[in-house]
Symmetry: C2
Subunit: 387 residues, 2 copies
């Protein structure tokens, strides 16, 4: 089904992204990233140079100023994931959807000046640390504390599962600045690489996204200056997180649609070219029916995600709507990838094939950014009127 | 639901397997196997010593003589998979379900004498090579040829996706000894490690089973003596494969049931011990309903697989029944593992956790041993009477 959300500017940008990927996201590079468990800095700098990251950074700070227009980011996701480069897409996403927004939307003028120019070029890479070993879905159950001291805070605690956490230069960190778990007991502090007592070197071994780091963070009496309190006001952390969640969830929905579409293309191409029993795999009726389902699901996914992007642009996408987009899209993605792997036969299990990697990457989409159970909980509470 | 197929002998054997696993299948060993991409020989020899492999080797050749009784093998699968050691379970399975049976059931007396004693001790490890780059489901589409020469055959061609193919000392290899694709155009030859022109060193990178090798094989004018023709008669290869397929498929069904049960146990334990929002994860109604589904599916899986094992024992399990067991069990396994991963939250994506590894291992169960599409094709042909 033809999509209608993109105009000439978007298509011109798509060419830029394609060109970038051809040059920098080679198979050789991918293997290197997977061996290292992270994307190399040179590639991120090149992405900054090409204008592929830092899209929402205002022009005055060297970015593209695409504040509420997610369509450019959608193009980055479509092309990067479509090129079989899920890890790279993930690293781009953390910078643009999880780190930059906190500075752009909620940072003080001083914070914007300090961080945004480097975040647009890729000289400064960010991450967002909410989850702890003992608290993920239940964010207000975190234990990391930031104790007020002269000129700043002393941070103690630990975070886990932090995407880009090892490679990040700065980590927007969710901490307790108050007692109990009332919404105003939390703040967001920027932790910087090299701060004494801040260790973010331990990478986790995971199912997929092998070229993109996920790290454990630990804080031992880390001194963080007042200047690093996001927005300059204490007790705003929980509200700040809530403000950015619709974007984070929309981004996962769009990534899921992009991966679902890629799965369809890879699978269609594969079954058209492979033969068994004197026929193309594509000719077996089961295969054809699966392809028909896949193609239709891809259409529905885009119709829905495109609509969500346009609502977001007009600041009308609600938290519940973003939650629906996230769980529905990632559930469909899982189905599409599963069928795609299956129709590749044995090759679907071999990670040399993009379908296999995308399958592994997809599994976490139903878990992070708020699990799909938490999404359903949120959506259903509104329906039945439960607090 | 209580299972009734095991008697005292089986339970005594279970203790032996448990003891073996405690001693030899440590977490340290697992990590070593995954780093090496294969199980070390010492472990396989220890398994031979403990009587955990070579179960169907007749007693006169040093085995346990459990020819048609799959229950002992089921115990090995249950315990090994239940211990989070999927790769080890896989390596045991290739030896016992895919290699040994061709010698036990179809080998000449000379072949039995030559191979079986070593296969019971683990000094000789086997593999079975049917699949080629261009032909998997369509077995009769293979291209590897064995040309009759004086005293033997000259083998040329290639195989792929061969489980234990790198570590194997002998590979039961499906080759063309005749023209066209009539059933009698094929034979099974034993290829031996070290034969000139036989390369089985290239390992494939795959989604799961990281501690168990899957290899590409290539044959360039490999001379194979007549003595290595399974059964001593040319043109029997296709029929020989068909004869062992029910066992192979039953074994995958049982492995799927074992993994599904393990997934239930790991998940139940996890959600009982983890808290969020002041409750155990197990207390949320969604979690409880999922657990109820899982527990029920596990009961059904065993009821069905136990029944299939008993029929197999009485030589009454038909090819179609074995195909049903394979596709149905592995489809359920996929569902159970998926829910299990999901209920582990972020930890479900981390391969340190057995649920994550079992999820990755499970994905190939729907693909190898005949894809689930081929299983449904076979079963449905019988129903509708199509050749
Ligand atoms: C690869 C990866 C990258 C990640 N990146 C980041 C990152 O960059 N920054 C960050 O802060 N976090 C990140 N996370 C963490 C992720 O957001 C959390 O794992 C997720 O929110 C779930 O939290 P948890 O793991 O603690 O699971 P838990 O909250 O312990 O949940 C366990 C299970 O219980 C269910 N559950 C919980 N509450 C309820 C309820 N009320 N009703 C019904 N069911 C419920 C959950 O859905 C889940 O199935 C990442 C995780 C992974 C795996
Ligand atoms: C980890 C791993 C281990 C393996 N171990 C071994 C081993 O030890 N020995 C060995 O010989 N092989 C092994 N295999 C190979 C495995 O058995 C084959 O991959 C499998 O049989 C499918 O063959 P294929 O990959 O060529 O897929 P294809 O046959 O090309 O099939 C591609 C797709 O088409 C579908 N399809 C094919 N025919 C039909 C039809 N008639 N109707 C409808 N759909 C159809 C298939 O279901 C599949 O979805 C292994 C594979 C893997 C991934």
């Amino acid at each position: 089904m033809e999509r209608e959300i993109y105009d000439e500017d978007h298509e011109a940008f798509r060419d830029v992204v394609k060109e970038f990927l051809k040059r920098y996201a080679t198979e050789e590079k991918r293997k290197q990233w997977e061996a290292d468990g992270e994307i190399d800095r040179a590639t991120m700098l090149a992405a900054g140079e090409a204008g592929i990251i830092g899209l929402s950074v205002p022009e005055e700070f060297g970015g593209a100023g695409m504040l509420q227009d997610y369509r450019f980011r959608a193009i980055v996701l479509e092309e990067t994931i479509g090129a079989g480069q899920g890890s790279l897409a993930g690293a781009f996403g953390i910078q643009d959807d999880l780190a930059v927004p906190y500075i752009v939307h909620m940072g003080t003028q001083e914070q914007k000046e300090k961080w945004l120019p480097g975040m647009a070029t890729g000289e400064i890479l960010g991450a967002l640390a909410m989850t702890e070993p003992g608290a993920g879905s239940d964010l207000r159950g975190i234990k990391t504390t930031a104790k007020k001291v002269d000129g700043g805070y002393l941070v103690n605690g630990a975070k886990t599962f932090i995407s880009s956490g090892k490679t990040a230069d700065m980590v927007v960190t969710f901490v307790k600045t108050g007692e109990g778990n009332r919404p105003d007991a939390f703040s967001l502090l920027i932790l910087e690489d090299g701060m004494e007592g801040f260790d973010h070197s331990k990478k986790l071994e995971k199912m997929g996204f092998h070229g993109w780091d996920t790290a454990e963070l630990s804080f031992t009496d880390v001194f963080v200056p007042d200047a690093n309190l996001i927005g300059g006001k204490e007790g705003m952390g929980f509200i700040q997180l809530m403000m950015n969640l619709p974007l984070e969830r929309l981004s996962i929905g769009v990534a899921a649609a992009a991966a679902g579409e890629a799965a369809f293309h890879w699978t269609r191409d594969y079954v058209l070219s492979r033969e068994a029993f004197g026929e193309r795999i594509a000719d077996f009726q089961n295969t054809r029916f699966r392809l028909a389902d896949m193609a239709t699901t891809v259409d529905v996914m885009w119709a829905y995600n495109d609509r969500a992007m346009m609502l977001y642009k007009d600041k009308k996408l609600t938290a519940e709507e973003a939650a629906k987009v996230k769980f529905w899209s990632t559930d469909r993605e899982a189905e599409l990838l599963d069928v795609g792997v299956q129709l590749h036969g044995g090759y679907g299990y071999i990670t040399e094939y993009p379908i296999a990697r995308a399958y592994l990457d997809a599994r976490v989409h139903r878990i992070y950014g708020g699990t799909n159970e938490i999404m359903r909980d949120l959506v259903s509470r509104q329906i039945v009127g439960k607090k």
